[in-house]
Symmetry: C2
Subunit: 296 residues, 2 copies
Amino acid sequence: MIKITFLGTSGSTPTKDRNLPSVALEYNGEILLFDCGEGTQRQAIFYSVNISKISKIFISHIHGDHIIGLAGLTRTLALNNREKPLYIFVPAGEEKSIIKLLDFDNINFKYSIIIEGIKSGIISKGDSYTIRAFKLKHSIPTYGFVFKENDKIKFDKKECSKLGIKDLMFNELKKNGKININNNIIKLSDITYVVNGKKIVYATDTRPSIGTVNAAKNADLLIHEATYDESKKNLAKERMHSTAAEAAKIAKKANCKKLALFHISSRYKNEDILKTESTVIFKNSFIPKDGMTIEI
Amino acid sequence: MIKITFLGTSGSTPTKDRNLPSVALEYNGEILLFDCGEGTQRQAIFYSVNISKISKIFISHIHGDHIIGLAGLTRTLALNNREKPLYIFVPAGEEKSIIKLLDFDNINFKYSIIIEGIKSGIISKGDSYTIRAFKLKHSIPTYGFVFKENDKIKFDKKECSKLGIKDLMFNELKKNGKININNNIIKLSDITYVVNGKKIVYATDTRPSIGTVNAAKNADLLIHEATYDESKKNLAKERMHSTAAEAAKIAKKANCKKLALFHISSRYKNEDILKTESTVIFKNSFIPKDGMTIEI
């Protein structure tokens, strides 16, 4: 099971209800963090996300609202006597900004912080997932991220039973890819099927982009920025952001199952208009509140 | 009137109830900020402190929990189209840490941020107040701050009436320092009295110190760190912090009117023990919660 917690859902500046961007994805006891706005460590306390489980942090771009939380989070992990390394992925060429932000006082972190410059492609693999980065369209180098659970091969139990496969035969099948039962050669592919791994896509900050459509193809969840409503589409264009309707069109074209509208401008006291404008294009749209969790 | 808002009252790491250190002092429409822990800008939203009124920020020392909030606060002020300069006072020699923290992405702030290195003594004067810095005893260079409202000279109305001074005579008195009424020379000092300006002292992080006693003499309010209870006095010593009882002894020796225990360790789910240990020594002790305001 993949558990997603929206730690902060605002854009640029915080509001009473929404903190700056950060999303925690928990999978097999490991937490992957996407962006880390100021105050993320405290949001994690509010919403029961155990920061000691964070193994990797994926930074979309180095605008302050997406990264300032790194400075405090890394220090708190040090105070908590963290020993295992922390990986921070950041657009290639921007590593020095992260270093300046973390190291303003020449602190000596007693655990390793590994800052990796990323380009498009697979940037990280876990026990049973991969993370792929893809380019977004923003005012500075910005990447979206695809979390893809590995596909699983399952035995078709009914078929196995019909063919008389049992017990130790499974090991032989897995090892050799086939088995001989009464002069009948049975191949692994005859009695297995593939369960597609789940796919979550995180895309902020960005103009709508065909790159996102391709990356988000058939995703179980697309988290896409929706900074503005349709009346501000020129502002969205000018500032290299998206409207809720533009996000919805991406989700529709990509045939996603769900769309979370994210990075909401602090000007909206009530975001109903964003939801309405999105839902009319893509039905399964929602606007997560800070602290909302979703299991996939 | 001086209005103090405790924006964050925790030490080192935030908790659900307490954010990292910051205190806002509002006086004559101007806000002075003492320290600026991560998340201070959002605490200001929660507790109705208008960040556009902040003119000066006084940084006690450059440990992360006291300064990381500067990075986000200064950016939000820029997004709000601030034009007037912002002064940041920081222990002399540590200016470069603040510059690194603010400037991690080579941002071009469109308003002036003036970073001033401070030593002991008067570091800033306002329309009717002065700020004096004094050395604290911590693991790195750290200063406490004294906000002192200017003393006011008031006319003794009863005495004035008795002597027949009225209307335009006051202007002559103010101008010449004396007035002649029926061959009776009346000096300004005969019919005026001094109202002492209010005094607020901010002292964190620190071991108890005679310097603080001197600085806090007769203060209306002493805000003093009280990271630990008495059972952890060795830890307090080792980490260069104070216990609540030690803070209380300072307030007592300095003959303060009130003591706010501040910079409470995140280990305390219930801080009653700190209040109890302080109150037994200094009666007017209290532990402000985040968002508490006090008018002096």
